[in-house]
Every structure is written in C-alpha cells, then in structure tokens.
C-alpha cells in the first residue's frame, strides 16, 4: 500500500466495522440479485474479499461505500459467471441509487425480528405453516405449488397476502415500540 495513506484499522476495529455493516451489505447484494438463491453466497464472497482487502481501508473514510464497491464487483462477477441469457438486471443508475440509500439504512434487526415473531404468532396456523414451508424449501414456486396440491397463481396470491399482513403488522409494531 502507499505509505502516505492514513491509518488502516486494527483487525479488531475492522471486525467491528464488518460486523456492523452485515445487514446493509446483505440487503445490498440481495437488492441487486432479487430472487437469486445464491445471493447469500455472493454476500459471503464479498465478505471474504472485504476481509482480504482490509489493509486498503483507511479509518475515517466511509466503510459502507468502500465495502459496497467491493460487493458490487462480486455481484458483477457472479453475473458474469452465470452468463445466462435473459438475466434481468437493474439499470446502473438504479443500482447506484440503491447503493447510496442502503448505506443510510440504520435498522435494528433484532427488534424487527422480534416483531416478526409476534406477528407470525398472530397469523392463522395454516398461513404460518404455509409460509414457513415455503421458506424452508429451495423449490421453485411452481414445484412447491404442485407438491402441496395448489395452483401456482393461487399460491402466489396467498403468499403475497400473508407477507403483506406481516409487513403491516411489523411496521405497526415497530412504530409503537410494541416489539420490545
């Protein structure tokens, strides 16, 4: 590295930064790869790269901006490796907008998860089971629908309704602080 660079962080400081930015990083990678089952792996890859390059990071500069740039590069790499046709990707402008917005996100994942748990309890048991089963499998929606004997269209609507209910419930709880 260039000797005139400001101090690189100690490993301990770096772990702190990396840990703190996990949610943002994960959301960013997922926002660029919606519907990709491999998004988690790509984020993992990005983590590894970020760690590898930690000596390049200067304390006092924007860690998220720096790490997002690395994550974005990993996403591009992933797309290149996939090289499937008809891959739907957002415009570069939109990707950049999302990057800067997600850098601002300051969310308490714990209270969100707590709220989600409470809201899940409020669901009808069939709805809860359906949702959990959907998230436990990696099958496509069509395969899953076939297995549980439902039409894909109908299932899509059901899942959407359940999610909408949950999302409302979570926002309400977070707004009133009821999750704590």
């Amino acid at each position: 590295m260039q000797p005139e660079l400001p101090n690189p962080p100690s490993d301990a400081e770096f772990v702190g930064l990396l840990t703190q930015s996990q949610l943002s990083l994960l959301l960013y990678v997922r926002s660029l790869l919606p519907g990709e089952a491999d998004a988690g792996d790509v984020a993992q890859q990005a983590n590894a790269k970020i760690w590898e390059k930690r000596a390049d990071f200067a304390l006092g500069t924007n860690f998220l901006a720096w790490s997002f740039a690395i994550a974005r590069f990993e996403v591009l790499n992933y797309r290149k490796r996939q090289a499937r046709d008809s891959r739907l990707t957002f415009s570069e402008d939109l990707e950049q907008t999302m990057a800067s917005e997600l850098q601002q996100i300051d969310d308490d994942l714990l209270s969100r998860q707590e709220a989600l748990r409470k809201c899940l309890e409020g669901l009808k048991p069939e709805a809860r089971t359906l949702l959990m089963d959907r998230y436990e499998t990696t099958e496509s929606l069509a395969d899953f629908a076939r297995r549980i004997g439902r039409s894909a269209g109908g299932l899509k609507v059901s899942l959407h309704r359940i999610r909408a209910t949950l999302a409302d419930c979570i926002e309400r709880r977070l707004a009133t602080g009821a999750a704590r």
């Binding site: 490993d11 301990a12 770096f14 772990v15 702190g16 990396l18 840990t19 996990q22 994960l26 959301l27 997922r30 926002s31 919606p34 519907g35 990709e36 089952a37 988690g40 984020a43 993992q44 983590n47 590894a48 760690w51 590898e52 739907l88 957002f90 415009s91 939109l94 907008t97 999302m98 917005e101 997600l102 996100i105 969310d107 994942l109 714990l110 969100r112 998860q113 989600l116 748990r117 048991p125 069939e126 089971t129 949702l131 959990m132 089963d133 998230y135 436990e136 499998t137 496509s140 929606l141 549980i148 899509k156 899942l159 959407h160 999610r163 909408a164 949950l166 999302a167 979570i170 926002e171």
Partner: protein
C-alpha cells in the same frame, strides 16, 4: 399501477418469479419513486428474516460473518469477544457462540496447516480449525472408520457410532449424548441431523431453537432437555424438561410439553401409544459415569506404577497427584538405588485437573516463572524422558519440557520448538574450547507433530537417548515420530543432569540478574518419568497404553 399491484410485483421479483415485462415495469417505478424503493427494501428485510426464521436462525448469510471473522487470529481474544458481543446484537447472538468458538480456537492455536479454513482466507492469515463441536467423552465407543479422540473436534460429514456411547458438546452450548448404533451429522452448532439412533440433548437458554433433523421431520427445542430415537418407521420423542416443537413439512408445528411422548412418522405428528421412556442416558449422568470410570482407571494405573517402581533403570518417577503433605514437593516414587533423585520442588505452579479428569491432580505451569525443580546426581549411558502434558499453545520460541540449569557440558535439554518440533540435545563442546565455528551441540528434532487439535488435550511425549546404539528417538502418544543417529563427533558417552527444571529453564543458580527469558510450558504436567537408559519402542507404547485414560 395500484399500490397493491406494486407490492405484488415486488414479491414476484424477490421470489424470482417475475417475467421480463413486469420486471421492466417495476424497475421503472423503483427508478423514479423513493417510496417504492423503501417498500422494496422492507420486503427484502422481511424475506431475509423469514428465511432465518424458517431455518432456525442459522443460515448461510449469518455464518458469513463467522466465516469472514473466523480466520482473524491476529485479534486478541478478549478484544474480539467484546467487540462481537457488543456488535453482534440480537439476530447474530446465536451465531456469536459459533464465532467465539472459531475465534478462540484460531487464536489459541498457532499452527493448523493441516486443517481446512472456513472461508478460504487462511492463506494470508493465521490458521483456523474447522468444526462445530467437541467430542466431550465416550464410553466403549466404536466409530466407523478412524476412531475419534476424546477432546477432539467432531469432524463434519456423516458419522456412524456403531456401538458405545459418545457425548458431544456443540459450540452453541448444547450437550448431546448419542448411543450407538447411530448415524448423524453435526451440520452446525444449532443443527444436528440424526438419521438413525438414540440421543438425548440438554439445551441451554442461549441455544434455544436448536434443531434435530430426522428423516421424519424436525424437532425444535424451546429450552432444556429431550430424548429422541430416530428409527426407520418413526422418530420417537420424549420431553424430559421444558418443551419442544415437532415439525413435519406441510403440517403445523406441534408443541410438546414436559413428560409427553410423541412421534414423527409418515402419518404425521402424533402422540405415542406407548408411553415407555426412551431410556437414553443424560449428559449429567453420563459425565458422572465417565468420571467414575476414570477414577477406576486412575487407580489401576497407580497400581501399575507401584509394580514398575522397582525397575532398576528408573531414576525418577514423579506423579503430580502425589504431593507431599504441604503440597510443595513431589516425592520420587522410584525405589531407592544408586542414582537416586530426590523429591522435586514445586515452584509457582497452580493445581489443575489431571488427565483422568480429577481436580488438582496435575500442575499448571502456565504462570510465568512456574517450574518443578529437581536434582539428579550421576552419569548415564542412556536416557528416557517421558511425560504427560496438556499444552495450551506453543507460544514461546522454546517451550520447556526438561532442561538442566544453564547448559553445561554433557547436559541434556528437552523442549518443543514453537513450530511443533520436539527438540533434544546434549552439549558436547564448550564455547571456550576455541573451536568457535562449529556448534557446541547437535540438535535432534522430530518432525512437527503439533496441530491445533492437540491444544488442551493430554498427550504423552517421550524421547530416548542411547549412547551405545548412538541413537535419539522421539515419541508421541506411544508411537515413534522420529529417530536419528548421533553423529560420531557429537556423541556424549555419559550424560549428566544435576540441578534441572521440569517445564521451564533455569539459568545457573546463583546469578543475580533478575531478567530471564520466558520458556515455561504454557500448559499442565501430570507425570514425569526419567530412566537411565533408552527404553524400547514397544516399552514406550506399553506405557502409553496403560497410562492413557481415553480408552
């Protein structure tokens, strides 16, 4: 586009179920409307949390933290623990246990080139170890393939315990007793797949959500203790304390309370008609059983030692569990003869558990300055040094086993280099002899034997010196790991010892400079034996077999 429609498109997008036309529509909305983007972010979060919820809090994305952090051995353990505890709030809390396991492990162990690295980062970083659990104890355990050593990391991948009982301790804090014949996989610190066999688990509060996966469905623990018997037809479950949830895909989760007997089968989740107990031994009872077995083994070993005391090759036999009344000395158990060494003096050592698991039976030498002082008169045409040690890490350049004070002519030094090689030498030449250009002694190194899996485990080390056969041999756990001929010009026909230290190096007695180099062994000693000739390989193997508690 209605708000409803917008939400549906976002859901389809996240589900990966969107067609190109709809993709372009939602992209257009996302590009111009910050509220649509906010909605998109919220749905991504929901999706992420639901995935975690469904997978019992341990998924790939969260272990990403562990993996990125795991190899960072350069971080002082305390600092990293604090940082992690502070920063890994909430959702990462369960994971933290795993991270701490990894970090502590990797900090602890200076060399693990043999073991895989979790994130492929280890090339440039300090080494790591891989695994989610420790084999805490076993009784008559027969494993398919290589035997697993007590105290070692439980390997990943399918394991088959053909017979006997084993207890594993997961880094999440779950203690699990498994009875053979059983087939299982430790998938993570929070997930064990039990394909066949009986198990009983005790789950601490911090590991709520721990899951056992069977072919018939999942058991999710909601705290405390349960037994499970995974068979071909069904998985029978018995809740001993607290409660669990049983879950079979496509059905609602079933809560099962303390004292209830249920089962998972192709027919679904149902109450068992037989309410008979599954009769699996619990972790506490198993530990008591192991402990009493070890007490028996220790007693047998001591009887053996009593019968071996009369060997006229013996110079000294010190057992750290047998201290003098004031606890400051170790009597020499060898029967008196000409080359009698006296009692050894304990300096600065702390009591520690011995290799039979008995509290206070061993001496911990890790406090700076610790040593056990001996004085060995006489001259010997051969030597066997043998000890049981539990080493935390080889963090000094020289890690002492047995060294004479200073380093005078004809005196031996026995230690471990920080790269894991056993080191033995006998000083042949005096520096003041004028021949400055040649070394004053020849160093006999074993190949590196140490890897992180030895850390905190009792091992038996031995080295023999045979002047007549001109040979030095090194042994680990009864097996020879290296042997070398003594070069003719470095042969010392008669070795002398005099004042010496076990577990440290003392410079000559009457010097007054308080500075000293740190060479004490970072670990504990349980037994130290000295013979006046080189024992054979089979004798050493036998001493290991008899004295090894992990049978």
């Amino acid at each position: 586009m209605t708000p409803e429609e917008r939400e549906q498109l976002i859901d389809s997008l996240i589900d990966g179920e969107i067609d190109e036309a709809d993709f372009l529509r939602i992209e257009a909305e996302l590009s111009v409307d910050p509220e649509v983007r906010a909605l998109y972010y919220n749905r991504l979060k929901l999706d992420l949390l639901l995935q975690r919820e469904a997978s019992g809090s341990v998924d790939d994305s969260s272990s990403a933290v562990a993996q990125a952090v795991a190899p960072s051995a350069a971080i002082p353990p305390v600092a990293s623990v604090n940082i992690l505890q502070r920063r890994l709030t909430g959702i990462f809390a369960v994971l933290a246990a795993t991270v701490l396991g990894f970090v502590a492990w990797s900090v602890w162990n200076p060399d693990s080139s043999r073991l895989g690295s979790p994130a492929g980062l280890a090339g440039k970083l300090e080494p790591t170890a891989a695994g989610f659990a420790i084999l805490q104890g076993q009784s008559d355990a027969v494993w398919e393939g290589d035997p697993l050593a007590t105290g070692s990391l439980v390997p990943s991948g399918p394991l088959r315990l053909r017979s006997g009982v084993a207890q594993i301790e997961l880094f999440s804090g779950v203690r699990m007793v498994i009875e053979g014949d059983a087939q299982f996989v430790v998938e993570s610190a929070m997930l064990v797949r039990l394909d066949r066999g009986r198990a009983r688990a005790q789950v601490p509060e911090a590991a709520r959500g721990f899951r056992v996966q069977t072919r018939h469905g999942d058991l999710i623990d909601l705290g405390t203790e349960f037994a499970i018997d995974a068979g071909d037809e069904a998985a029978r479950v018995e809740v001993l304390a607290g409660e669990v949830e049983l879950h079979r895909q496509g059905t609602a989760r079933q809560r099962v309370l303390e004292g209830d007997a249920w089962q998972l089968s192709d027919a679904g989740v149902s109450e068992r008609s037989d309410s008979e107990s599954l009769q699996v031994i619990g972790p506490d009872a198993f530990e008591r059983q192991l402990s009493s077995q070890q007490i028996d083994q220790r007693r047998q070993w001591q009887q053996r030692v009593a019968s071996m005391r009369a060997d006229d090759r013996l110079i000294a036999w010190y057992q750290t569990q047998q201290t003098s009344a004031d606890g400051r000395q170790l009597p020499n158990l060898a029967e008196p003869d000409l080359h009698q060494a006296g009692a050894a003096a304990i300096v600065a050592c702390q009591p520690a558990s011995d290799r039979w698991g008995q509290a206070g039976g061993a001496l911990d030498l890790s406090r700076t300055g610790s040593r056990i002082r001996v004085d060995v008169p006489g001259e010997f045409g051969g030597l066997t040094m043998l000890c049981w040690v539990k080493i935390h890490s080889l963090d000094r350049l020289y890690n002492s086993l047995f060294l004479t004070d200073g380093h005078e002519l004809n005196e031996p030094h026995w230690q471990i280099m920080n790269d894991g090689r056993l080191f033995f030498s006998v000083k042949k030449f005096d520096e003041s002899n004028g021949k400055r250009r040649r070394p004053d002694k020849y160093n006999f190194y074993s190949p590196p034997f140490w890897d992180p899996s030895f850390s905190g485990q009792w091992i038996m080390l031995a080295t023999t010196y045979d002047a007549q056969a001109r040979r030095v041999s090194h042994y680990l756990n009864g097996a020879e790991i290296g042997s070398e001929a003594v070069p003719a010009d470095y042969l010392v026909p008669q070795v002398t010892i005099g004042p010496a230290s076990i577990g440290n190096w003392s410079e000559p007695m009457y010097r007054t400079d308080p500075q000293f180099v740190v060479r004490n062994l970072n670990g504990s000693l349980d037994e130290f034996v000295l013979y006046s000739s080189a024992l054979s390989g089979s004798e050493i193997a036998e001493l290991y077999r008899l004295g090894n508690p992990a049978r």
